[in-house]
Structures are given as C-alpha cells and as structure tokens.
C-alpha cells in the first residue's frame, strides 16, 4: 500500500528500568527511528487494558509496554501483574479480531540501552510491514 508508511507507536515505559534504558540508548547516541512516543509510568503494572485500548482506539499503530526484567521490578512484583494483564489483553484483542501483535511487552533493564534501541527499531519495522492500524480512520484525534 505505501512504501513510506511511518507507524505511530506509543511506548509505556516504567520509570526505573526501561525509561533508564531508553536514556542510556540516548546517552550512547544509538540511532532509533522516530516512530515511538514514550509515555513514562512509575511501573509497568500501572499499564492496563484501558491505557492500551485507548491508544489503539485513537489510532496508534502499535503499543509497546516495557518494564523491568522479571524479578527486578522496583516495586517487587509489578511486572508480574503487567505480564498477566498483557496475556489477557492479547486475548481481548484476538476476540475483537484486532491484530494482537500490535501490542508488545518487553523487559528492558537500565543497562540495556542497546536492547531498547533494537526493540524499538524492530517493533517499528514489524508494524511498518503490517501497515497502518485499521482503527486509524475511526480515530477522533
């Protein structure tokens, strides 16, 4: 459809690990495609279907949720809740016949600047190939 399609992605990053990892990517001047807008939350456990579905409904082509590696959550167990919630969210998307791979959950530590860059670039790449979200045209924004 379009070769020049640039996806519009939202990334919910937890403050303690993933946001710090994103900062490290910057501090080491890694190149990232300008497709993902970061929204900082204190912990990945704050992110629920409400936040993700709203982003999709408003036309996001993809939503990334990133938190500390299992066991590393600054609040001990938050990312386990995030993981469970994410599984549920996938099911919801599937049952609504929405493309469930437009959401992704990744663990990114504060030391993983490179990994952050790779994850964002790969996610952007994947979503580019998928094309724009079918919900884009319904979005009121």
């Amino acid at each position: 459809m379009t070769q020049e399609f640039k996806p519009n992605l939202v990334g919910y990053l937890c403050n303690w690990c993933s946001y710090a990892g994103a900062d490290l990517a910057g501090a080491t001047k890694l190149e990232i495609k300008p497709t993902l807008s970061v929204v900082r939350v204190m912990c990945s456990s704050r992110v629920n279907s409400n936040l993700v579905l709203t982003a999709l409904a408003w036309g996001a082509d993809g939503v990334l949720i990133a938190g500390c590696h299992p066991g590393d959550c600054h609040y001990e167990q938050g990312n386990y809740y995030a993981r469970r919630r994410f599984a549920l969210l996938k099911k919801i998307l599937e049952s609504l016949d929405l493309e469930a791979d437009r959401i992704q959950l990744s663990w990114i530590s504060a030391a993983e600047g490179k990994r952050y860059a790779d994850i964002v670039n790969d996610f952007a790449e994947k979503i580019s190939r998928r094309g724009p979200s079918p919900l884009r045209n319904h979005s009121k924004i």
């Binding site: 303690w16 690990c17 710090a20 490290l24 501090a27 080491t28 500390c68 590696h69 066991g71 590393d72 600054h74 530590s109 504060a110 030391a111 993983e112 600047g113 490179k114 990994r115």
Partner: protein, 429 residues
C-alpha cells in the same frame, strides 16, 4: 558537644547505603571515594544472584539518590591522609586529587573524548575494552556522568605537549579546567565509617592457573564485564579470537588454600556465571570445579540446584591446573579417589579469593586500627558486632570487614548507622 557529621570512606553499595541513611537522619555526610565515580564493584555486574536482578537497575536509583542528596558531600579522587581526635570530635585531612573537569559545568555530553590524542588501557573494563582517552568516564553510565583527566597521561598536564588543548577546545561548557589543583580538606566529624571494599587475588602470581596474555582464561571480574550489556563486547560472550566458546570450565576457590579462608561469595557467583552462559549460549557445556560448595542461607541452595538441573556439571576438585593445548585449554584436576582427570575447554573462568582493597594497610595505619591476620579490618575483641572496631567512633562495614555479599554488606552499613545515631544523638534531643 559531639560533632554530628560522619566521614564515610568508600562509595560502594555499603558506603552509599550508610550515607543515605545518615543523610535521611539529617546528618551531614562526607563521602570519600578514591575513584571519580561512585558505585563500587556492583556497577560492573550485569546481574546479581540469587534472583538474577539487573545490577544497574538496582544500584542506579541508589547512586542518583546519593548524588542528589543535599546532606551528602562527595569527595572524589580522594583519600584520607590523617585522622586525629576521638569519637565525637575527629579531625580528618582528606587529600583530593584534581579532576580537571568541573562537576558544576560538565553536562556529560562526551564531546571531549574523541579529540583527545591519548589512548590508554581501560582499567574499568579489566583491559578487555577498546582504549580509553586521557579524559574519560570509566564506563558508559558511570555516575556522576562527568569525566576526569588522568594527569599522568594527559599530554598537556604531563608536559609532553604544552600546546594540546584538544578537550578544552571541544567543550562548549568550559568544563575543562587545567588549573585545578590537588587540595587537602580538613573535615570535622564525629564518626568514621570504613567501607573500602575488596580486591581480587592477582592470579598472575600463580602460574598453575595458566592466566596470561591472549589466553582464554578470564578472572571473575573480567567475565562480569564480558557478560555485561554495557561492557566491552556489548554482552557477547566471545573468546579473544571472536569465536563462541563451546565448553567452559569455571574454577572455584582460586587462592583459598594459600590464603586460608573461604571468600563466601565465589561459589554463588560462579554458579551465576553458569546461568549467564546458559542464558546466552544454551548449548554450551559447562563444568564447575569446586571444593566445598558454600551456598549458605535460605535462598542460595535452590539457586545452585536449579543451575545444576539445567545441565551444568559440578565436580569436586582438589587441585586444579590449567594448561594450554593448541588453541584450547585443559583443566587438569584431582577428583577425589579417582585421581587426575582432564577437561578440555575453550574458556576458563577463575574465581579468585576476595582480598582487602588495595591500600587497606596504609589506611589502617592512618586510622590507628589493626588489620586481622587476613588483612581485613579487625573488629573489636569482645564485641559481638563485627562493625565495631577497637577505636570508639570508627566502624567498618561491607567487604572491608571481610568477604560477603550484597545483603550482608548493606545490613552492616545500616548497623553502623544504628550505632552512630545512638552513640551521637542529635543535640536537640
């Protein structure tokens, strides 16, 4: 009236914890660190046992909190030179080496590194990394993110090139200050906490371990950097020729019998290394050579068992020798009654004994306290608490007191704080 300020020597995990707690209690803290950054050994590790937590994620908030705390004054590149007085009224002379970069002006952009014409070995990366410059931060993500100039190697400062101003010209924040001078600060404090940590036994001293130039025998700290995603290989576990190891031997207790003590943490971190390896190279064959396995306490044995169940081999080995055979390595070891056996490996990791930090002896003299027979700071005879030293008002915590892991180091830090806050209560009380 007793002085409520506290002098803390060493900004590792123990020193930082003590600083933060004292600062929270409203105490002024002078944190003296010999390096241009804070964090100690922990910032070299990717993950820590037993929960394989990301070490950076764990300590970075602590480091930030130290940097941002108004009650904590950090003296970088510093050492205690003289201590006079007694509990409640010490006078400490702290010698600060010049950093030549202004902490106030520098924003850590790194524009000054490239222009510097000098290349040096990177000590932080255990010599595994590409060279660093004469103006540099020790590692990516170092806190504070402000470089220091090494005056021994800077061409301008060592007088080899009076014209070189490359870094100064590159810095638009006017942060490079060649006019910086070493100085001595005299600090009045009520108590002193020694948190100078540990070093590792130099394995070069003992040829039996086959450590040497270009060989694929690594020390534990080298391996930590090799695994670290912010390390010299970006976390790729490769041999020195760039290939991936297929068999790895991990040798515990290096130096234990010579030194006469068990370092308490090497078994656990060696098991951690197997986890690292299995995580990145699922097909790698690993054999760990141990004497007595030391996995004390409620959480550690499980960690070992889980690792063993993933196929890591554990053998009891009395004496271990490493030999080279063509491009590979041979681990020759005595296996109890079964006599000498051989294990061929692409890579061997040595887990050397933890020893007192360099300079512990000189520091002990300055402090007027004794070291024990092993060279660590000695506790007060007749006290059940190892953080108390024979001199009232001086405490020792973390690995400066003896080998231990993070939770024990942190507990000792809080314990010293407990002693200090009850020894020198706030005057308004």
């Amino acid at each position: 009236m007793k002085n409520e300020s506290v002098l803390i020597l060493g900004a590792g995990v123990a020193g930082m914890e003590a600083s933060l707690l004292l600062a929270a209690a409203g105490r002024k803290v002078h944190l003296v660190e010999k390096e241009p950054m804070i964090g100690g050994q922990l910032i070299k590790f990717e993950e820590v046992y037993p929960h394989m937590e990301c070490s950076t994620c764990m300590v970075a908030p602590q480091q930030q909190a130290v940097l941002q705390n108004g009650n904590i004054e950090i003296h970088y590149l510093s050492a205690l030179e003289k201590l006079e007085g007694s509990a409640g009224a010490f006078k400490a002379s702290v010698k600060k080496k010049a950093r030549y970069v202004s902490l106030a002006n520098c924003i850590g952009c790194g524009a000054c590194y490239d222009p510097c014409p000098v290349s040096l070995e990177n000590e932080f990366e255990e010599g595994l990394a590409a060279a660093r410059k004469a103006i540099a931060v020790p590692c990516a993500g170092a806190l504070p993110n402000v470089p220091a100039i090494d005056p021994r190697h800077c061409l301008f400062l060592n007088g080899k090139d009076t014209q070189c101003r490359a870094c100064k010209d590159a810095c638009v924040f006017d942060a490079v200050q060649f006019e910086d001078k070493d100085e001595t600060a005299v600090l009045d404090v009520g108590a002193v906490v020694v948190a100078t940590g540990f070093g590792l036994l130099d394995v070069k001293q003992n040829p039996q371990y086959g450590y040497g130039e270009g060989k694929n025998v690594y020390t534990a700290l080298e391996f930590e950097r090799l695994f670290a995603s912010n390390g010299p290989t970006g976390g790729n576990l490769t041999l020195r020729n760039g290939q991936t190891p297929k068999t790895v031997g991990i040798v515990h207790c290096v130096g234990r019998s010579e030194l006469g003590y068990c370092s308490g943490v090497c078994c656990m971190y060696s098991v951690k290394f197997s986890r690292f390896l299995k995580h990145k190279l699922p097909d790698v064959r690993i054999r760990e050579f141990h004497t007595d396995l030391c996995v004390p306490g409620k959480a550690y044995q499980k960690f070992f068992e889980k690792t063993r169940s993933e196929g890591v081999e554990f053998v009891r080995a009395e004496t271990v020798k490493i030999a080279s055979k063509e491009s590979r390595l041979q681990v020759l070891y005595q296996n109890g009654g079964r006599g000498e056996e051989v294990f061929e490996a692409d890579m061997v990791i040595l887990s050397p004994a933890m020893i007192p930090a360099a300079g512990a002896k000189e520091l002990a003299e300055v402090l007027g306290i004794k070291l024990d027979a092993k060279g660590f700071f000695a506790g007060r005879p007749g006290s059940l608490s190892p953080v108390e030293t024979p001199v009232e008002g001086i405490f020792v915590i973390g690995c400066a007191e003896g080998p231990k892991d993070i939770p024990e180091s942190v507990a000792q830090a809080a314990a010293a704080v407990g002693k200090i806050l009850s020894l020198i209560p706030h005057e308004a009380n």
